[in-house]
């Protein structure tokens, strides 16, 4: 009996040992050298194996980057830091070379609709899926461009970066968002756009209806009045098809349009109470150089004769910050209106 047990253990143990030895010998003997650059590249790739690049996983992508010269930017979700690291590793970019600051994007929900009975055609009780809701009378909301609020974007997001917040509107967690664009495709109303993470003034509306029609169905929709266009000192807003568009390359985020917008459609991120800013001149430091007077597009700076100290006409000042930027003495500061 004992010999049976011992021999069984021995046989299996020895067999296992022999095969293990053969395999470990073979792994050395038949080792295939992998380009170390491929391994390093693989480490720098996100490792989510999402397939967004078109290759079967990050490993195949890494190989393609190194051996076939596929651009690193083919990966839709790689962080700009890692992209630069890979390019430096492969000698595509010299270390420390100054590059234009990369634009890091995040999803923006272009709707700020309210959630009260007066903006609803009917109560939707169907499948909680935006596409399904749109099929039924173009959705339960009076505004044809209103976010359905049923979370198709939430379901589409592979990074858990979107959730439905108050007013049935999705909230994007910009830290988690990688701008992969899945939510953009999932939204049946084309409400989501990818914009620069660092910009914080947004038009939260996607309605191209005439102003009067928009006003009937939404309290906070863009009516295309054009006040924001007039107040923008940087020429960064255009009204096109009854809807304001921000040119994010020009926008500096001064918030003049936010303060001016009669519908509160344009918002300052994280500052719901934002009422605009106003310039404030430090009278002690001002030397009366007239630069601020000349630079102001809204005639909001008193003075003009040299050596006369300047002051701001706060009614006219839109808070664009041009004067603060140009002041040689840096004596103009921008303060938030109470």
């Amino acid at each position: 009996m004992l010999t049976q047990i011992v021999s069984a253990v021995l046989v299996l143990g020895v067999l296992g040992f022999i095969f293990g030895a053969i395999l470990s010998y073979a792994s050395v003997k038949f080792e295939v050298k992998i380009d170390p650059q491929i391994e390093k590249t693989l480490e720098l790739l996100p490792g989510a194996n999402c397939g967004g690049c078109g290759f079967p996983g990050c490993a195949a992508m890494a190989e393609a980057i190194v051996t076939k010269g596929v651009p690193v930017s083919t990966c839709p979700v790689i962080s700009s830091l890692n992209r630069i690291k890979i390019e430096e590793l492969l000698g595509l970019r010299k270390p420390g070379e100054v590059v234009k600051k990369p634009v890091v994007k995040a999803a923006l929900i272009k709707c700020n609709g309210l959630d009260t009975a007066e903006y609803k055609k009917f109560e939707y009780m169907g499948v909680p899926n935006c596409q399904a809701a749109v099929l039924l009378q173009n959705g339960p909301w009076l505004c044809p461009h209103r976010c359905m609020g049923l979370g198709s974007c939430v379901a589409a997001c592979p990074f858990d970066a979107i959730k439905i917040g108050p007013q049935h509107l999705p909230i994007v967690d910009e830290d988690k968002c990688t701008a992969c664009g899945r939510c953009v495709l999932a939204c049946p109303k084309q409400i989501i756009e990818l914009v620069d993470k660092e910009k914080f003034v947004h038009v939260k509306c996607n309605s191209v209806e005439r102003g009067a029609d928009t006003r009937k169905v939404c309290k906070v929709g863009c009516i295309g009045c054009g006040l924001c266009v007039k107040v923008c000192a940087y020429d960064a807003i255009k009204v096109d098809n009854n809807l304001a568009h921000i040119d994010y390359e020009k926008c500096v985020g001064c918030g003049a349009c936010v303060a001016k917008c009669p519908q509160k459609t344009i918002i300052m991120e994280d500052k719901p109470q934002f009422k605009g800013r106003v310039a404030l001149i430090d009278q002690d430091a001002c030397i009366g150089c007239t630069i601020c007077h000349k630079v102001c597009k809204f005639s909001a700076v008193n003075g003009g004769t040299p050596k006369e100290k300047h002051s701001i006409i706060s009614d006219k000042c839109v808070g664009c910050g041009l004067c603060a930027e140009k002041c040689p003495k840096k004596c103009i500061s921008m303060v938030d209106k109470a």
């Binding site: 049976q4 021999s7 069984a8 046989v11 299996l12 067999l15 296992g16 095969f19 293990g20 053969i22 395999l23 073979a26 792994s27 038949f30 080792e31 295939v32």
Partner: protein, 192 residues
């Protein structure tokens, strides 16, 4: 002698076809039969591993387990042999024939857990085959698997473009097809 070997070969391919008659190795049969190309790769890989495993496990059984009266360790030691063998073959192919390795891809490691391979090893012993007969039976079994896979892949490629009720698309129609195919293979039963 030679006649019986030929009959073992024919029986293994057609009458006791591993997939369609003995219902072994169904997961690659359904999983890898989408395209003929990959079906050919998988079929060849399985055939190769089956022959190697058939010979190796027969040797283990005859020279190790039977003399030591350890026949009850059959299953576990065969699994050990097959797994190591597949790993070893993978390494060798990767080194010596990278092109073949590329085309086989994930199929090689998949074979480790293919029950048809273990099945052929166990059946060789059960039927009291000798070394040559085991090898022939394994080769025939592998070829049978290869044929079944290719026939299935050919049918499924045509199924892809034909009009099928939505509920039946994909796996359901594949299972029905497999069933019909198995029924058709039953017709070979009177062959030898």
């Amino acid at each position: 002698m030679s006649a019986s070997i030929i009959s073992i070969f024919i029986v293994a391919i057609f009458i006791e076809n591993f997939v369609l008659n003995q219902i072994l190795g169904l997961c690659p049969f359904i999983g890898v039969s989408n395209k003929i190309d990959s079906a050919v790769g998988m079929g060849l890989a399985v055939t190769f591993v089956m022959v190697m495993a058939g010979v190796a496990t027969w040797s283990i059984q005859a020279f190790l387990l039977v003399p030591l009266k350890l026949e009850y360790l059959q299953t576990i030691s065969f699994i050990l042999v097959i797994a190591s063998l597949v790993q070893f073959v993978e390494m060798v192919i990767r080194k010596t024939a990278p092109a073949l390795y590329q085309s086989l891809g994930v199929f090689l490691p998949l074979i480790t857990t293919n029950c048809a391979v273990l099945g052929v090893a166990l059946l060789n012993i059960k039927k009291n085959y000798g070394l040559v007969e085991s090898a022939v039976n394994s080769f025939g079994g592998g070829l049978g698997f290869f044929f079944a896979l290719i026939i299935m892949a050919g049918i499924r490629e045509r199924l892809d473009v034909s009009e099928i009720p939505e509920a039946m698309r994909g796996a359901p129609i594949a299972f029905v097809t497999a069933g019909l195919l198995a029924t058709a293979f039953m017709g070979f039963s009177g062959l030898v």
